[in-house]
Symmetry: none
Subunit: 192 residues, 4 copies
DNA sequence: CATGAATGAGGTTTCATTCAT
DNA sequence: TATGAATGAAACCTCATTCAT
């Protein structure tokens, strides 16, 4: 893919993250990327097409950073979960407290309107949940967790807490609520 | 307030829930409510004004149903939390699995764009969290929960799990993930 | 129908006649009709919608003028055909020599691209052909024509000559060719 | 002329015949001809330039096929007119019933808008009319036609009937009307 | 209260053409 | 020759809002 196209996608990710997909106009993107109308439609067939490219790019990044770079490494499971929380809190801190989770926002805004968006986003969430579930299973096998844990369900609840926590953080415009929730996770799964 | 205005608000709640605020046009609402341009602008100064009325109405309803009708009653705390989960799962089941949480969606779509929306929505979430925290405190005093619980933080995590769970449910288009998460809540807080 | 809408249709008929449907932009019409964008789309759902309204209006007018006002009257058949030729030559003379037949042009430009246009235009041509065929039949019964005439086929050939004659007139930018062709018709059917 | 350019012209003839000149975009042609932007503008200065090349090519072909190959041969006049009708009906039958006469369409769409197009197209029609007039003169000299015939005017009416007949055929989407009209021609000029 | 005509900015997209390589 | 990136005017259409009745 041309680096120009990639550049437009990256800038669009920021714009769409901060304004939402619907509220972002093609003109907004043209302006931010300093390109002309025709140039945009040279690289993308439509705004929808760009939206999908943005989701794909976001998913690819997060798969690399979170799934591959943190959760599926050979580190010990406690470290992996700790780093996941760290990543969730700090990696895009400034943007997130203001605008929320780039993935979660698109999930809510677009999953309900467009099946293509939904499927791409859902794949990522499933990977995330499954990776966490594997780690929880590993911890149970290591007797680091008691037997009341159900890896799949607990993994789902952890991801839900992170996404829901970011939602509350945006609503309160205060990072403390997210930290509180992470403490609850840390305590339950002995991540300290 | 005139019942006509109230009727428009109710219909708008549905339309905005299913399409999102931005994607909902004034015409969409006029059509759904079977009113003309003049009617709409007689009752509301602007689309923004309607949006705020919709949020207020939503908050009022949920305060009544959830905060007053369930959480702040004199029932025993376990029953109250059980009913909260029940309410979250069943009260608007069909719409929610398709379109997600009416409140959470607006939180994500509008809190980041408009301070007025944010404050109204945040008040509700704070009430919710505080009410749940009170119940958890009550349970601790009753020795129904061990001392590792922090009422405020656990309340935040519970609300986060519900909102995040609905997000995952929409993404998967499957209610099971929400039920899984509720099981995790039930087990941790001995709600069975 | 509002007279404003009717006014827009009338002006559009002229613009579309002179530029063709495809080459006519909504802005062209807005400008000619001195209305704003929103006004246009208040009266018409789309440019296509306007196109159909223009065809309908054109058909209605011609049905009244030609079919009802000339061909289906109780005049004697010769007079009726004479008046038809007169009407074809003079009624919209200035526009026609420059831009051709408003109906024929749309037939060629739009019938091939859009079934709705085709059907509306075709109905008019069929009425025309049938009315001429009836007159030819009447003339045969009156022994004003010899028996080698086939009313239906001769009617088709007469309409074809008029439409084809206008085409040649536009191509030559000279009305003489049309008059030549009318002379041939006059002679064959003894209309002098 | 390079055969590449000739190839583009041929493909453009088809595309323009089926969509019309205005509705055909340069991209449509690039796609159909499987060439890039640069290629197109290497061979043609503009879309207008291509349009003229298409008309010239069409005229050249038809001059060869119809004027030289049929009408100006040394065959007997009846045979020549018979073959002309045959050519008009069968040579491009499938395209014509759907999209009409390639020449007549351009005459109507472009003659009114562009003098260069008009002149080129008109030259062809004049050649056609003159060739038919010569044949009719020949037939009169042979006493194959009575003296009521005026070669020039009858030739014009014959060409008009063919072009108008194709117009009606497209409008009706039925070849029968064209055959009917040809029967009228055949009978009048004793071509059977 | 109510209607719906009017406004015009701005939405997404297409187009013919030019430029850099 | 050839590619396809770049340009910007203009296409069709929607929108929130105001105005006249």
């Amino acid at each position: 893919m041309s680096s120009k196209k990639q550049g437009i996608i990256l800038i669009s990710r920021e714009v769409i993250h901060s304004k939402g997909y619907q509220a972002t106009s093609v003109s907004d993107i043209m302006e931010a990327a300093k390109i002309g109308k025709g140039q945009f439609y040279h690289y993308f067939q439509s705004k929808h097409d760009l939206g999908l490219a943005v989701v794909e790019d976001l998913v690819k990044d997060w798969e690399e950073q979170l799934i591959i770079g943190i959760l599926n490494t050979s580190n010990d499971p406690v470290t992996k979960l700790q780093r996941m929380l760290q990543w969730a809190e700090t990696s895009h801190a400034e943007m997130e407290i203001k605008y929320g989770c780039a993935m979660g926002n698109l999930a809510i805004e677009m999953s309900t309107q467009d099946e293509e968006f939904r499927i791409k986003i859902n794949e990522f969430f499933n990977h995330w949940i499954n990776s966490v579930a594997d780690i929880l299973t590993e911890m149970m096998e290591n007797h680091q967790l008691d037997q009341s844990i159900n890896p799949k369900k607990d993994a789902e609840s952890i991801v839900a807490m992170i996404e829901g926590g970011i939602l509350l953080m945006v609503s309160q415009q205060n990072i403390q609520v997210l930290r509180d929730i992470f403490e609850v996770i840390i305590q339950k799964y002995h991540l300290d």
